[in-house]
Amino acid sequence: MTPAASARFRPGDRVRVRDAWPEEGGRRVHIRTPHFVRGRVGEVERVLGAFANPEDLAFGKPGLPPQPLYHVRFSQPELWPGGGRTDTLTVDIYESWLEAPR
């Protein structure tokens, strides 16, 4: 891990996970962003530092430059019907998967 001085988002920022589906492009990919948060809006809880990009590492590439990694918190009832009103789901998401909400 290296410090993520260049992190684009800060704790409290609203962010949207890109609604992208690289696994449908016909080439082999390694993705660490779960399906159920793609296209969803959450809040940055914490900046975790920068890590070599696992989407490259999986194919023997160096994964550089390191990707800032975030804790993004989603409201449970916004993701699924039911559930406790204040319940949340926190997911580790790399910066390349995040954008400012429209």
Partner: protein, 213 residues
């Protein structure tokens, strides 16, 4: 009774063959081929691999329980465990070199944490050892995010509705350890007695620590 020996499974038969539910033969062959190539190419030696397996097998939930019990009894250590988990674990003699970054999630009177890895089976092995089979099951991985309170109920864990439940999906480069709340009625207990109350499941978040006898 004709054909008795083949009619049913002898559940209590001490000589019943041990059922194997390991990986498929193809994966076993693949693992062996890759391992032998890595050794032949000098990436690591066979002995390195044996030592790593030894180290992995030596880790177990009692190590995590020691951290939790120390955090319950020593406020300075609790602070350190939350701020610098790997440094705190190292202080307690747990070898965390070459292991992923660790985050400790503290349960409070108003907040409970539950850990899952929906994409695979990421788990704080350095602190808790090998994960239980259910942690790697598709059912747990899917349902812990979608119906976490239902999952807790099936583990026999009551969580009042006013307590916020935070599910943490361990998808990337970090591993998570839940710091459960100290049970009531444990004021007189020493650190070793407290550690005995800290179960593996309470450090994953599917249950609470045991109550004192």
């Amino acid at each position: 009774m004709a054909g008795h020996h083949h009619d049913h499974i002898h559940a209590g038969d001490p000589h019943a063959p041990v059922a194997e539910h390991g990986p498929s033969p193809e994966y076993l062959l693949l693992e062996r081929a890759v391992r032998e190539l890595l050794v032949a190419k000098g990436v690591f030696a066979a002995d390195d691999m044996r030592r790593q397996i030894d180290l992995t097998d030596s880790r177990n939930p009692a190590m995590g329980a020691k951290l939790v019990a120390r955090a319950w009894t020593d406020p300075a250590f609790r602070k350190k465990l939350l701020a610098e988990p790997k440094a705190a674990a190292g202080e307690m003699g747990i070898d965390v070199s070459n292991t992923p970054e660790l985050i400790v999630l503290e349960n409070t009177p108003t907040r409970h944490h539950l850990v899952v890895c929906t994409l695979c089976s990421c788990y704080p092995k350095a602190i808790l050892g090998i994960p239980p089979a259910w942690y790697k099951s598709a059912a747990y991985r899917a349902r812990a995010v979608k119906d976490p309170r239902g999952v807790l109920a099936e583990f026999g864990t009551a969580l009042p509705p006013e307590i916020e439940l935070r599910v943490v999906d361990s998808t990337a480069d970090l591993r998570y350890l839940v710091l459960p709340r100290r049970p009531a009625g444990t004021d007189g207990l020493d650190e070793a007695a407290l550690a005995a109350l800290v179960t593996r499941d309470s450090m994953i978040g599917v249950s609470h620590p045991l109550s004192p006898a």
